[in-house]
Structures are given as C-alpha cells and as structure tokens.
C-alpha cells in the first residue's frame, strides 16, 4: 500500500472516537480511518457498499490499539477472497475486547498516570519551571503512544492475522504491570515531595506536612468504605476548616 495512504489512515485514526455513540461505539470512526483503503480497494459502488456495511457493525476498543486492528483489517481487505465478511467480523470480534482491556491497563491506568506523575513531581520540586515538567510528560507519553499507533498499524498491515505472534513477543500485559509499578513508585515520590513542600514552604510549617499525611490517610480510609473521591475532597475540606475553627 502506498505510503501516502498508510499515513492518511493513521492520521484519520486520530478521530476514531469523534462520533463515539452508544449504539455501535467507534464503528463510524473506524470506517472513517479505513476509508482511504476502502476507496482504493473497491472502486465499484456495489463492492464498496458491502464494505461500508461490513465496517459499520459494532466496534469498540482502546483508541491507540485500534490501529493494530485497522492494519490487520486493511490486510484482509486488500487480500480479498470469498470470506472477507466473516474474516473481518471474526478479527474485530476477537481483537477488540482483548485490546480494550489491555489498552485500559497499559495506557489509562499505566502510562497516562505515570507520565502525569512525572510532571507533578517536577512541578512539586521546580514550580518555577513547571512548563519543563509538562513538556517531559508529553514527550514520554506521546512518543510511546505514537509509536504504538504507527508501528502496530504497519505491522498489522504487513502480517495480517499473524500479528498475534508479534504481539506475544512484545509481552504487552507484562509491560502494563511494569508501567503500573513505575507509576506507584512515582506516586510515592510525589507524596514525599508534597509533604516536604507543605512543611517547608506552606503557611503551617511542619503541621502542614502532617496535615498532608493525615489527609491522605483519612481519604484512603474514606474511599475504602466506598466514598467517591470528589465527595471525599469536600469532606476532608470541611474537616480541615472545622479543625482550624476549633483550634483557632
């Protein structure tokens, strides 16, 4: 497939969630991303119509890993054959659920918080150079997610359904675990930085550091008994105000 069409497909995949809806989730976005391939592969109206129907069925997965499915499906479409309808449906069905769960683990609770925590730690240490923290976080996060988007699409396009062998070699679930451990480490670092910041530069001195540690413990207990984080913020706030009124 020409480089221009591959690039166009990857670019269009950035909009895969733009028409996200509760009936068929990302199906329209998926078709939008795949359109350069469909247009080239099926110039005749009837075959194109069939392809459109094929790709407007229910589809939902993690948006970055969707590119892998895009690549594999493009490979199947380009190879053609009698069973294209069934092949495409089976591939999407088999991959979207697994990629959805893996993507949530790897990106939404793994790399995204870890990158954000890098920024937050840097904000805590160097508040005067906060933009550096933001740039570092953006570079860490986007270099990996862009690599996933481009690489997985190209490999999917080249290997087709055989991509599972390649994915096994990457050991992505293990990578997700490692990223989560890194995020937890950064969270610990951030806690220490916040306690130090409150004690060193806050208006309450060492008591401020204690307040941060105490509020963290109390919030953890409250959230463990099912109180939502937002509500917990109001409760801890009310308690802090009450404490100041009582103590004076």
């Amino acid at each position: 497939m020409p480089r221009r069409i591959r690039a166009e497909t990857v670019f269009r995949s950035l909009f895969i969630q733009a028409t996200n809806n509760f009936e068929r989730m990302l199906s329209l976005g998926f078709l939008f991303a795949l359109w350069p391939v469909i247009k080239r592969r099926y110039p005749e109206p009837e075959a194109r119509k069939e392809a459109i129907i094929r790709h407007l069925s229910f589809f939902n997965t993690q948006p970055y890993l969707a590119n892998c499915i895009l690549g594999v499906v493009a490979n199947v479409e380009l190879r053609g054959g009698e069973n294209v309808n069934a092949d495409v449906a089976n591939i999407k069905k088999a991959m979207m659920g697994a990629f959805g769960a893996l993507g949530d683990d790897l990106f939404w609770t793994g790399l995204m918080p870890a990158s954000a925590l890098v920024a937050l730690v840097l904000y805590g240490i160097f508040p005067g150079y906060a933009f550096v923290g933001a740039v570092v976080a953006l570079v860490i996060y986007n270099s990996f997610q862009f690599w996933v988007r481009v690489r997985f699409f190209n490999v999917g396009l080249r290997l087709g359904p055989r991509i599972t062998t390649y994915l096994k070699l990457l050991r992505l679930p293990r990578l997700a675990l490692v990223v989560k451990v890194a995020a937890a480490f950064l969270l610990g670092t951030f806690t220490a930085v916040m306690v130090w910041r409150a004690a060193e530069t806050g208006p309450f001195g060492a008591a401020g550091g204690l307040a941060v540690a105490g509020a963290a413990f109390l919030s953890f207990v409250l959230q463990s008994i099912g109180i939502r984080p937002g509500v917990c913020w109001y409760l801890v706030g009310a308690l802090a105000i009450g404490l100041v009124i009582v103590v004076g």
Binding site: G188, V212, A240
Partner: protein, 237 residues
C-alpha cells in the same frame, strides 16, 4: 463595578472557555495526546491567565483525584480536565488570597466537571443520529458524509465544553467573589489548610487504584527514596 472590568472579565472567560474546549477535545474526540489531562491542560490555562501557581495547584489536585476513574464502556467519570480548567478560570479574576479563591473555585468547579461528564453521555446518545444519517448517505453513494459526520462529532464535543465553561465562568466568578467577601479571617485560614491538604485526597485515590502488594512496595520505595534525597539535599545545603 467598572464597565471596563466587566468587559475584561468577559473577554477572559471567553478566552479560557475557548482554550478549555480545545483542550477538552483531546479527551475523547481527537487524538488523546494528554493535552486535555489536568496535569497539562490546567497548567496551560494557568499560564494563559497569568497564574501558573493556580494552574499547578489545579493540576496536582485534579489529576490525582480521578486517577483511577477510567472510561469503561458506557461509564464516564467526572471530567477532571474540565474541573481543573474551570477551577483556574473561576479563581483567576477574583481579587483574594490564592489559597482561598482556589479552594472556593474548586468547590464550584467539581459539579461543573460532573455535568461535563453527563453531557458527554448525552452527546454519545445523540451521536446515534449522526451514525444513522451517515450510514444512509454512504449507502446512497455520498462518501463525503463520512467526513461531515466526524466534523459534526468534533463540533458537538467542542461546543459542549465551550458553552459549559463559558456559563460556569461568567456566573461562577461572581459567586466566588461574593463568597470570599463574606469570609472571616479564620475561614480564610481554614481554606489555606484545605489548599495545602487537597493533593493528599488525590494521592489516596491514586494509591487505592494501585493497591497491590508489588505496587505498594514500589510506592513505599518511591516515598523513601524521595524522602532520603530531600533529607540529604537539606543537610548539605
């Protein structure tokens, strides 16, 4: 109130709402480049309104507060990005100590974030109409409908955040200013303590997400390493 000040506040509200809506697009509609996350988005808006410290506080508080709240299927957590941006936008024009106006603004901004998430759900249900119309157009041989559907989808998400932020900022800033006028010095002191302790609520929320033996060990290691390093630096300086 001076008419020029009202105009300046309105201009600032439009500006913050516009940038906030652009950053909000990153969360669902376009890309997911992390620009819409509070850690980056709130800081950018903080710089925009000339209050980077306010941006940092909103980033630190709201990035962690809903860290584990991932969008799974039809469930959408409160929009941390809109909450953080609204906090900065609400607190920036008010003349009061940073801690007091930030906390009062955050208290008003959390319901705005909840509403933003509810509106996301509403848009997703309305997008079914876009899907059906595009499907018919495509099957009738009008391929341009596909691009049009994406533009419509993006526009819906943009205007949802823009209008929500604009209404919240115009009405909310006045509320923040009025609330702060009536506070006693003791309450201001209380708000200072809330300002200091706020990131801790987020830390607890995040720790709960990572509550597994190896992660807790890593958390402890991270805290100990940072504490040791801070101690070492403070001894030598």
């Amino acid at each position: 109130m001076d008419f020029n000040i009202v105009i300046a506040c309105a201009e600032r509200a439009v500006c913050v709402a516009f940038v906030g809506a652009l950053l909000g697009l990153d969360n669902i509609a376009i890309g997911q480049f992390m620009l819409g996350q509070p850690a980056v988005g709130a800081l950018l808006v903080g710089f925009l309104v000339g209050e980077p410290l306010l941006g940092i506080w909103a980033a630190v508080t709201f990035q962690l507060l809903w860290l584990g709240q991932i969008p799974v299927g039809a469930y959408l957590p409160p929009s941390a990005s809109i909450t953080a941006i609204a906090t900065v936008g609400l607190a920036a024009p008010v003349a009061a100590p940073l801690a007091s106006r930030a906390v009062v603004a955050a208290a008003l901004a959390i319901p705005v974030g909840v509403l933003a998430a509810r509106l996301d759900i509403w848009i997703k249900s309305r997008n079914v109409g876009i899907l059906h119309r595009s499907e018919n157009d495509l099957l009738d041989g009008r391929p341009l409908a596909l691009g049009g559907a994406v533009v419509k989808g993006v526009a819906r998400f943009f205007f949802k955040d823009f209008l929500l932020l604009l209404i919240a900022l115009v009405g909310g800033s006045l509320l923040v200013a009025l609330a702060l006028q009536r506070l006693t010095p003791t309450l201001h002191r209380g708000l200072e303590l809330v300002f200091t302790a706020s990131p801790a609520v987020g830390i607890a929320a995040a720790l709960k997400v990572y509550w597994k033996r190896r992660n807790v060990l890593a958390y402890g290691l991270g805290a100990a390493a940072a504490a040791g390093l801070i101690l070492l630096v403070s001894v030598f300086t």
